[in-house]
Symmetry: C2
């Protein structure tokens, strides 16, 4: 196996171990020591791949975003060609909510990362850039859907984008078992049905 | 000053110190030691008021919820009599978003508490009960507004309640400076305008 691939794989293994620590014990426990233990490798080995805890956290978050994107891409591939923008947004939103184990791991990582960003300037910049990039992607889909007549031209694309991203606010209701996953999806569908003039 | 009042006041002072620690450094730093230091009192004094870190956290969260309720009650008092349900919901949502320093402190406390709940069964139960209670309150307002003809009878009260609570999902966008507070309020108003058949 080429060295470069092996290096990447080891970093991903450590990132997944960090997700598990965050998911099961909280980000306060995401130290190099506890992550190394969870990954079943030595403290020194983790330090070989990540110079600092922050570097490890940043990689674990980037990897979580990549994995979410990958799941969205796979979900979109199963849609018609070209896919209806309503269905694309539904796949994106469903993968951002903690509705299955992988999505739950990345959702918890993401929630912890936002809180970590509030008292770490470097993480704040990275988290803001990541969220702004995701927001831009959603806004492009909304604008195109307005151009293509799927969403009424009276809708403001920026506000509609913010309302779509706000649906991730269903997360605490799901995580604390106040509502069932199917109720969260019903709410997402209701919102999308009212946004689109035609159905996906 | 009666002893009971003094006791309560000291607990609130400690709770506010805990909020500041959570807001500025993160919940990982919300130990009895760091909170005592922030409150400017001795470690032993904090232990006199709270037997454990968990007890301190639970009180700080209950106090945050109470303070949010108090702000909502004050905001609602300034509305017409009887207040329009749209305006009541707007006051509630605005106070749940981190749009001013007090709301930001309670919002961050709440976000950290949800993450803490994911790996602490006692906190999970309390956080779930608190959120379910808040959700019930919103659902009662929605049901009454449907009965009174402010919201169309074709709307499903449970789904509408979930969509209203989902608006707290604007929080990361505000906290990471991806959108401005006024853009968050525009989104909230858009949502409410579409929910109500008459305006508040």
């Amino acid at each position: 196996m080429p060295k470069q691939v092996d290096h990447r794989e080891r970093r991903e293994t450590i990132a997944r171990a960090l997700w598990r620590v965050v998911e099961q014990r909280g980000i306060a426990h995401a130290s190099v020591r506890e992550v190394a233990q969870e990954a079943g490798i030595s403290h020194g080995a983790v330090q070989h791949y990540f110079a600092t805890r922050e570097e490890m956290l940043v990689f674990a978050m980037d990897f979580a975003s990549e994995q979410t994107s990958r799941r969205v891409t796979e979900g979109v591939r199963e849609l018609g060609d070209p896919p209806h923008p309503r269905d694309v947004l539904r796949v994106m939103l469903a993968e951002m909510l903690p509705l299955h184990p992988d999505a739950r791991a990345t959702s918890r990582m993401s929630a912890a990362y936002v809180l970590e960003a509030l008292h770490d300037a470097n993480i704040h910049t990275r988290a803001r850039d990541g969220l702004a990039q995701g927001r831009d992607l959603v806004e492009r889909i909304v604008r195109q859907a307005i151009t293509d007549g799927h969403i009424g031209s009276d809708r403001d694309p920026a506000t509609e984008t913010n309302l779509l991203l706000a649906l991730t606010g269903l997360t605490p209701l799901i995580e604390l078992n106040v509502i069932e996953p199917h109720e969260a999806l019903t709410a997402v569908d209701q919102h999308l049905d009212r946004l689109f003039t035609d159905k996906g």
